[in-house]
Symmetry: C2
DNA sequence: ATGAAAGCGCTAACAG
DNA sequence: CTGTTAGCGCTTTCAT
């Protein structure tokens, strides 16, 4: 090569190694000349660390997911990690096979975003010493470390907001009840209504899909009167479908005839055409916490599972009548 | 382990290897018991193939990109490959450093989606024998293999459609002119107008961003009359911003006062709130071709670069006056 | 059909 | 500070 030993080359590429500046320079020169770069995979074999984080995600239709991927990727990159993507067939499928696949790649860590991890899988990760984090989901106190927003509290505050806005017949189109996020939002919403002794008019499962949410919306307004004057939808992505169905198909005005409130605050919610009032999940903070916890777990094994919750904030926009509007109308 | 040699284990996991059924069974049993799975990285070291494809992408704000990622990932997975994600700081930045990083991971192939590759980089990929494909971009006949839609022809047909619709003062808000896609759409649109001896009223650069497109829209309508009665926007993502600006800020009706036509056909374009008439890029076919070409190049080295173009199709929706509407108004 | 041995490209002790 | 040696977990000739 350039008349030096293999180890010197290695040291030239190891940040804190004891190597003279001239040696390092000599190596880099020769490397540039030959187009040489260290083989990360071979390095992984010996160090046992691949600098790859596996990300399991359901689909990208809901813009919350690509946003999360983008932020996670940037945050991880700062720390020298990259994301290997694994798409689950769908949100409901168990991720058994997929994560087994992931493990083969010797990922240093694993983020399950908006998908569930089977119990045997979680224990296998722990057995192999691969830190796993549930993002935007959780699986009980005994489950893997999780990072999410406070869905229960957020949904409860939506209920308070709607009641304060003078709404009488309040409906809910939930996310999939098979998901912790969907359940917590529904439960929180019911609790919030309870706080004011208001009954939930109707409740239907939107399954996090546009078509299911639209169908739920139709059925809510089809079944005999009285029609609701407010709908809380357990996710922005579904809320858009509800607004579309209301306005274009049913000829119902938003918010004059019915208020619609979402959950997530994806970018589209702020665009004027929807102007969706929604409970914002603090994505940045969730991402930071996820990456922080993950790297911590990679550094020092055997960190006990923790369950982080971040508070949501209500974004007041045009799709729901405000409390002030009430007096206005009276 | 289970009383067999290392090689036999290897063979048990190699599809076409000469191994007796009983041996294979014995190995799998022991493996299941021990929770053993082959180490993909170690395999890569010897086989020289990692089954990882690097994907470079700018950002996910424009929903075309996550859609592409999702389809690419699914298509690659069918063939046993996975995607390692690399986010470029922005669409305009050169990808030099990023792809160098990618190369370190010994990816089997490389897809640059909607970002440019510097020339030295492209040649380095070729030198290292790593197939690279430009997705939704191209860099001339001598550049790397590229897969895209026929942007020029598509934009030209948008011009014909607008002229046929009886529009008199036609404006264009282009994608970034530094991108082949942006240039081709602008050039094609100009050519299409030329075909009917119609002059382009105004043209502004939307730089593929919401804010730049909104600003371009404002300036087009601010500068002295006459205001355009049609705008072709070089990407759906920008078209939504234009429609928002028109309706919410400028109080201009779409399509009564001005027709808006986009390019891409992202899912949102079909939602009733925008109902965007747009030139559809055949994403599925582009993805199939990309993966097909990439795997072909991985199998047999030294495939000559090709440049695939797929035809677009106009999606007629509500944001632009139709040719029929013209008679109607007369 | 199976085992033994060599080596992929690198890092991590250990000498010097 | 630098070179030597061993070995990460696998696949692959080459024998048997």
């Amino acid at each position: 090569m350039a008349g030096v030993s293999q180890s010197s080359v290695s040291r030239a590429y190891t940040p804190g190694a004891s190597v003279s500046p001239q040696m390092a320079e000599k190596v880099r020169q020769a490397a540039d000349h030959l187009g040489y770069r260290p083989n990360v995979l071979a390095r992984s074999l010996i160090t046992g660390t691949s600098r790859i984080i596996g990300l399991v995600v359901g689909h990208f239709e809901n813009h919350f997911h690509p946003s999360a991927l983008e932020l996670l990727s940037r945050e991880l990159k700062k720390n020298g990690y990259h994301i290997l993507v694994f798409l689950a067939p769908n949100e409901e499928s168990d991720t058994e096979e997929i994560v087994a696949d992931l493990l083969d790649y010797q990922v240093d860590g694993l983020i399950a975003a908006s998908v569930a991890m089977t119990v045997p899988l979680a224990s296998r990760c722990r057995a192999e010493g691969i830190p796993a984090i549930l993002f935007n989901r959780h699986q009980g106190e005994d489950g893997p470390t999780s990072v999410a927003s406070d869905n229960f509290d957020g949904a409860r505050r939506v209920a308070h907001f709607l009641v304060a806005g003078g709404h009488q017949r309040i409906a809910h189109i939930s996310g999939w009840r098979g998901s912790s996020t969907g359940r917590e939002r529904e439960d929180g919403f019911r609790a919030g209504l309870q706080d004011f002794d208001v009954a939930l008019a109707t409740c239907a499962d939107g399954r996090y899909s546009r078509s299911a949410a639209a169908e739920a919306c139709r059925s809510i307004f089809a079944r005999g009167c009285p029609a609701p004057d407010a709908i809380f939808v357990g996710g922005d992505h579904m809320a858009f479908a509800v607004i579309d169905t209301l306005k274009s198909e049913l000829g119902i005005r938003v918010p004059e005839d019915v208020s619609v409130v979402g959950f997530d605050d994806v970018p589209l919610a702020a665009w004027p055409s929807y102007s969706l009032t929604t409970m914002r999940q603090p994505l940045e903070r969730m991402v930071e916490a996820t990456v922080g916890k993950l790297l911590e777990a990679i550094d020092q094994r055997n960190t006990p599972p923790v369950h982080l919750r971040f508070p949501c904030s209500l974004m007041l926009r045009g799709s729901a009548r405000l409390p002030e509007d009430r007096r206005h109308h009276e």
